[in-house]
Amino acid sequence: MNNEIWIYAETHNNLVMPITYQLITKAKEITNNKKIVVILFEGLNDNLEDLIKEYGPDEIMIYKNDFIKKSGDRVIATLLSELVLLRKPNSFLFGATVLGRSISARLQAKLNTGLTADCLDLSFEDDLLIQTKPSYGDNIMCEIICPNHYPQMATVRPNIFVAKKDLNKIPLITKITNLKIKEDKNIKVYEEKPLLSKGDSISNANRVIAVGRGAYNQKNLPLIEELALKLGAKIGVTRPLTDLHPFSVDDQIGQSGNTISPRLLINLGVHGAVQFTSGILKSELIISINNNPKAPIFDYSDYSFIGDAHDFIKALLNIFQ
């Protein structure tokens, strides 16, 4: 076994996903004298290593091939497994994203090793990776280890760790040339459509207004949008609203959506299912408006207003006129 922590660089549309940088910074904090190696697959004309190197890993291993973007998960997992068998890293980290979860699990099966999903924390005891993951809608925390198999693999929830640049460290850049990509004739990614982005994501917003079923109606929506504008807030929603116009999964707060950490969070008509509240625990000040005095959301709130969301929004807007 090699004394290396590997990180899979997730890239889409010529952008590096922020979880990649977050993983580099976290790995540097817990490294315990292990080398941090980023594995980057990119097109022939891409140079995403220029972005990644600012975060100061020890090495970036690059494999350039235009075909990878059109391949399914199986091809990526196969390439990664060949690399793992060549260098035998101690551990291998992925973002707990759609792609990260999908290829890491395939890789796990290829390598017959353990994989812990959706970790919230990582540390080392000598060479043993201690992985903390939530279960049962974040109601239970588990510490998981993989003592007899390598690499120790984990996916890590995005936006738990803060990425920090480290320009002092100049990483070694290695080009991988000894891999042969075999086309997967049974699957083809023939189109990638970026989803309409509504500007900055709620996960980085300083002020957030969360809308739940109790406040979602055509009378309130324009008022909520006006309020968001006045407060400089982003609008997020609970899971049931992701299917309702004008929202999408991009706007979802909670365990299967975005974890947010704003200074101010205003919950309008949000009941407070665990699936939602697990995504708001890092908010500094939480105000909740709900007409049900027993709504669980109040257990998580600093201030509560028991009453109609519509009245509260109007009163708040009046102040800013």
Partner: protein, 264 residues
Amino acid sequence: MNYHIVVCVKQVPVSNNLKIDPVTKNVIRGTEAGVMNPFDKNALEAALKLKERYGGKVTLLSMGPKNFEITLRGGLAMGSDEAILLSSRSFGGADTLATGYVLSEAIKKLGDVNLVLFGRQSIDADTGQVGPIVAEFLGWPQITYVNKITPLTDGFIKATRLMENMEQSIEAKLPVVLTVRSELNNPRYPTPRNIQLSYQKKITIWDEKDINADLNRIGIKGSPTVVRKVWTPEKHEKKTINLNSDPNQAVLEILEVLRAKNIL
């Protein structure tokens, strides 16, 4: 094109208030009622729609203790043709790898399967790993997090995969493994007639011998990961201050707090 679709389902606890076995660190099952994992219902709905349109057969597959039959019975009442429960003491304590191995061996035993559907993840363990592991053990391609399925002629299937910031259109040749999102469809409710019919349908029980399992790859022995510690995180119950019941007064109170904390 005739489909034999296997839908892999998991029974999850109804409530999140669980008991943990202090020795095995596993959740004590059987003490609380169970329901079908919600995402698995979307997978089953997709399978039933394909069957209705193109013909074929839908088989439910699950691994767990005998009381998982109640979930399979519910799936039969939604319209599945048959159900198989992989149940044996030696399957117990399995992590995702050992679970994926057992499911894939059962699918191999069935032989004529050309589509396997999973929910995107279970809502208890929340890994989303078992689908891709089964795909790998079967040697099939996979499309995960599917929000749209369009069957094509001559044994191909087209699906869109909804990711964090984009949507991929993917075409795959059967056999293939799909894991589906809740955005894909709205699962049906069982009709009274289908509930009645479900009691005439068979739930087959298979153990490790029935699927010729390698005993080193099942249960605790076949699981590389070890749960070392389990705890309940401290409840985040805050001291909540009630605002004035008059909204105009309430917003004035809030404004004062926000200014004091320099948030506004």
